[in-house]
């Protein structure tokens, strides 16, 4: 993989139960192949390896973490919304095998604050997911950047209250990138403006930002009629907008090339239309992007 952005940390996304080929490996308990998948991503430039085993025994998470660390010195992202699975992964992780680097816990949100106690297990970095908040006892999706910013403030406050001494450098804010294919609610703007809002806050100086980049392009065709790609250019167009605002980590495929695009690139134009016209018009702009078979 060609690293166009030295400032962008890449978390390899492939060890995830929702990837069909990985699902098969998990189903058949083929840990060796999963370890190889970790190594392949490291070779392709992953700075971290994400580990998500789906809804399986916590012991499987622990075992996979140990097996990967036996052969690989890259730090890992312990990725599960299930507290027991996440706990097993964090307990198994040995920083000494990753040159002293801490693991990343992915993720804590206001809907899952019980996971805060996992920060006691060992020093770690943590992803704070700020796409959801709790209103009148019910968890719901944040609809504005202000909602997400408030969720970030609140989560940081809760992390600090635990007293487990995480610094801002250990905090990674994930605004929750949602698919362009269905973004009739202006979520692209919410995400971009969340970066802006958080960066304006001195108290949050030095926190990091992450997004799951593939989320942006789920449900879109991979190619246009003329065979030119759809997803890669749109992901790069997003980076073109988000990196200048502070985005510095992505959970992403290590087999793509990431680069900033020129302002006149059709994919950048498409995102600009989505930004300028949130609502169904944004979805129309995306459809026009993949329907117009144009040269890229």
């Amino acid at each position: 993989m060609v690293r166009q952005f030295r400032q962008l940390t890449i978390i390899g996304e492939s060890i995830n139960d929702s990837v069909p080929s990985t699902h098969q490996l998990l189903e058949s308990g083929n840990l060796q192949a999963l370890v190889e998948l970790a190594c392949k991503q490291a070779e392709e430039g992953a700075d971290y390896i994400d580990v998500n085993v789906g809804a399986r025994a916590p012991e499987l998470m622990a075992e996979l973490v140990r097996r990967i660390q036996e052969v690989l010195d890259r730090p890992l992202v312990i990725d599960s919304p299930d507290i027991q699975i996440a706990e097993a992964g964090l307990r198994a992780y040995d920083p000494a095998r990753a040159g002293g680097q801490k693991p990343i816990l992915n993720s804590i949100s206001l809907g899952r604050i019980e996971m805060l106690r996992l920060l006691a297990i060992q020093p770690c970095k943590v992803v704070l997911l700020v796409s959801e908040h709790v209103v009148d006892g019910r968890t719901s999706l944040c609809t504005t950047a202000e909602d997400s910013y408030r969720a970030a403030q609140k989560l940081v406050e809760l992390v600090r209250e635990t007293g487990f001494s995480l610094s801002n450098d250990d905090l990674i804010i994930d605004p929750g990138l949602t698919p362009l294919a269905t973004d009739t609610g202006g979520h692209l703007n919410r995400v971009l403006q969340t970066f802006v809002r958080v960066r304006e806050d001195q108290d949050l100086a030095g926190v990091h930002f992450v997004v799951g980049l593939s989320n942006l392009t789920v449900m879109l065709p991979s190619k246009r009629a003329d065979g030119s790609p759809v997803k890669g250019p749109l992901q790069n167009a997003f980076l073109t907008k988000a990196v200048p605002l502070g985005l510095d980590m992505i959970v992403a495929s290590t087999s793509r090339r990431y680069s900033l695009l020129p302002a006149e690139h059709p994919a950048v134009r498409c995102l600009e239309q989505c930004i300028a016209n949130p609502g169904l018009a944004a979805v129309l702009a995306v459809r026009d992007f993949y329907k117009s078979g144009g040269s890229l």
Binding site: G54, G111, T139, S140, L141, A181, T182, P221
Partner: protein, 215 residues
């Protein structure tokens, strides 16, 4: 009745403006709203679903067609109501407690509406009591649940249990869906039906209520 194939085409292409124009013209010319629905609108949405299933259409096209359908529906539904109530059945739907993924649920809703169903959307993070309340003393309706997380899919079982405890399980049909759900899981928890996608949800809902398929 004259030919309003333009309406079919407008919905298929997701052209809301044209769908509105043709519907207005048709109604002004005295067209039967029920016939507009059955001959052009529902078949158009069925075709949208078919194209989606074979990857000629993608989710954006589905949303855009759904919007065109809704535009036309808004014009004719007051007239339909005068003529005698809901046509297809009624569906109460929500994403279960702990889960806020609603994209799939919303697609299911727009396809169901496209199929002529009345849909009550309870939103996301819906606790069992809210499903029970929403059913109230109605019968022969569908309770539909969506879940995208392996940590929340188990809650569907709780909802079915709550319906049973409230003594209303027999009055409703339960259908479930969402990426981690399988037919096997649906059977295990005692749901009446499962569909892996939004267009299948319409056929399933029709079958569960014993309505003839319009396809």
């Amino acid at each position: 009745m004259s030919d309003y194939a333009d309406l079919y085409q407008a919905i298929l292409e997701g052209n809301a403006k044209k769908a509105k124009e043709v519907t207005e013209r048709a109604l002004a010319e005295g067209a039967d709203p029920l016939e507009l629905l059955d001959r052009y609108m529902i078949p158009a949405m069925d075709e949208v679903g078919r194209r989606f299933d074979c990857q000629e259409y993608f989710v954006p096209e589905l949303l855009i067609a759904g919007r065109a359908m809704e535009t036309a529906l808004q014009l004719i539904s007051p007239l339909l109501a005068e003529g005698g109530g809901a046509r297809a059945g009624k569906v109460i739907i929500g994403t279960v407690k702990g889960d806020i993924h609603d994209i799939g649920k919303n697609l299911v809703i727009s396809m169901l509406k496209g199929g002529g169903f009345e849909v009550i959307d309870l939103g996301v993070d819906v606790p069992a009591e809210r499903f029970v309340e929403a059913v109230g003393n109605q019968e022969n309706i569908i309770v539909a649940m969506s879940a995208l997380l392996t940590t929340t899919m188990g809650y569907m079982r709780e909802v079915i249990k709550a319906l049973r405890e409230a003594g209303i399980r027999d009055r409703v049909k339960v259908m479930v869906g969402g990426a981690p759900i399988t037919q096997r899981f649906a059977d295990e928890i005692g749901a009446d039906g499962y569909s892996e996608n939004a267009s299948g949800a319409v056929g399933l809902a029709r079958r569960l209520l014993g309505l003839a398929s319009s396809a």
